[in-house]
């Protein structure tokens, strides 16, 4: 559904992505692992079309959605109105908004987005990403600022959507969470995918130990 071929990107003299190749298949959850500055967010932004690669090609043949940031919402607007704006943009109905409001237990719909705590904002950003029926959802540090209940809700939402056929790419530092959810794991170091752990190996691999091995190299 998404194919990245030899994607490279430089910001000034710094190479952020170096010949990244990736074939994203239908109905899988991919974990993207790497230290800060390794290129995870840039890779997601390239897939979103917000950053143009200097080299390489991207082929996208599906409907994408993204929850990569708490940005993009209006502080002086209520949560429900913010979601309405994006629902209109994605040509979705009010019932689609209701579904995600229930999914992420958003009981603060009438509060202005600007007055929310970081965790509440994160839930709104996730709700926006889950709205409608996207084929592929990109998530960047989705558990950031979330309380334990919300993490459980997010996990079950991802599993539920996967059953319905949605694919996920999750960039995260919470390796235990990724171990529970992912079908495949990719390690990104200095803009390069240095290791791929396929579904067949994932059950026998400790991601934390693998990460430590790679970071020592």
């Amino acid at each position: 559904m998404v194919i990245l071929e030899n994607i490279s990107k430089r910001f000034g003299v710094k190479t952020v992505l170096n010949s990244v190749n990736l074939d994203i298949r239908t109905n899988e959850i991919i974990g993207l692992i790497g230290p800060n500055g390794s290129g995870k967010t840039t890779l997601l932004n390239v897939m979103m079309g917000l950053i143009r690669p200097d080299a390489g090609t991207i082929t996208i043949s599906c409907k994408l959605s993204a929850g990569v940031s708490r940005k993009g919402f209006f502080g002086g607007m209520t949560v429900t109105d913010n979601l309405k704006v994006y629902a209109h943009l994605k040509r979705l109905s009010d019932s689609d908004i209701d579904k995600v409001i229930q999914l992420f237990d958003i009981d603060f719909g009438k509060t202005n987005f600007g007055k929310l705590s970081a965790g509440m904002k994160q839930r709104v950003a996730l709700a926006q990403a889950f709205m409608g029926n996207p084929d592929l959802i990109l998530l960047d540090e989705p558990t950031n600022h979330l309380d334990i209940d919300s993490i459980f809700k997010l996990r079950s939402a991802i599993e539920e959507r996967k059953k319905e056929g949605t694919t996920f790419i999750i960039a995260s530092h919470v390796l235990t969470e990724l171990e529970k959810l992912c079908d495949r794991a990719l390690f990104l170091f200095k803009g390069e995918i240095v290791k791929r752990i396929e579904a067949s190996e994932l059950g026998f691999t400790n991601l934390e130990a693998e990460y430590l091995k790679l970071s020592v190299k």
Partner: protein, 257 residues
């Protein structure tokens, strides 16, 4: 995609927008009403010029910083700063976002035009004497004010798209208006030449002679059409074309926390 509904949805949902709208309406209407009466009482304008002076004042004041440009720069600038542009472009396209902003400029220009009509009616009804107006007055006023507001709005929009930052856009707008006024005046004094084709002069051509903002220059475009006004749509097409080109060529900031 219904651009009008999309922009209206955003506009009406921002609570502070209603406060700003009320302030804008009240401030503009009262300033025009007050100035018209003062000018008349001080015998600076005759009864015949009274409404023309008010019309000139309304269009001219609306184009000042705290009014029309504020609505354009503040609202579009906020969307660049808070990452809304990124999400719109990601979910739809650069074209969709750009078109929706053209619609927003249309929406704001219409609102200012409607406010202008209300203000003119108030000024007329509460005038210190019985005002007799030609039938065409309001028709001409709507034409002049709407297209002037739209031109200024599009110019402010271009500046905001280029700067992608509220504060920088305001500074650039201020410097441009100031610098253009200075250049126009200096060249006119030294050479007697009128640099009519400067951005802010060309956008004023529909209501002031030669685009030079002076109350005595207010004129009826249909009685004495200035053919140089034909350059205005060409100028706007070029600036919007260049703005769109720059918007699609320059990368947006990566979305991340």
């Amino acid at each position: 995609m219904n651009y009008l509904r999309f922009e209206w949805l955003k506009l009406k949902s921002r609570r502070w927008a209603w406060l700003l709208a009320a302030t804008t309406a009240l401030a503009l209407a009262s300033v025009i009403k007050l100035l018209s009466n003062i000018s008349y009482l001080n015998e600076q304008v005759t009864e015949g010029q009274f409404m023309e002076q008010a019309a000139y004042g309304f269009i001219s004041y609306s184009c000042l910083y705290p009014f029309l440009p504020l609505w354009i720069i503040l609202f579009i600038g906020t969307e660049f700063v808070n990452g809304h542009v990124n999400l719109v472009v990601f979910n739809t396209s650069y074209k969709t976002y750009f078109y929706s902003k053209l619609v927003y400029c249309f929406l704001i220009s219409t609102a200012f035009c409607l406010l202008g009509i209300v203000t003119m009616v108030v000024v007329q009804v509460t005038a210190p004497f019985n005002v007799l107006l030609p039938k065409s007055f309001y028709g001409i006023f709507i034409f002049q004010s709407f297209f002037t507001f739209l031109s200024i709005a599009l110019l402010a929009m271009s500046i905001t798209f280029l700067a992608r930052n509220i504060a920088i856009s305001f500074v650039v707008y201020f410097i441009l208006v100031f610098a253009e006024g200075m250049v126009f005046m200096i060249v006119k004094k030294l050479n007697g030449m009128e640099l009519f084709y400067l951005p802010f002069h060309i956008t004023n051509i529909l209501y002031v002679k030669g685009g030079e903002k002076m109350s005595e220059n207010y004129y009826n475009f249909f009685q004495e059409p200035d053919l140089r006004a034909l350059a205005l749509p060409v100028f706007l097409l070029i600036t919007q074309g260049l703005t769109y080109w720059d918007f699609t060529k320059r990368e947006l900031k990566p979305l991340s926390d």
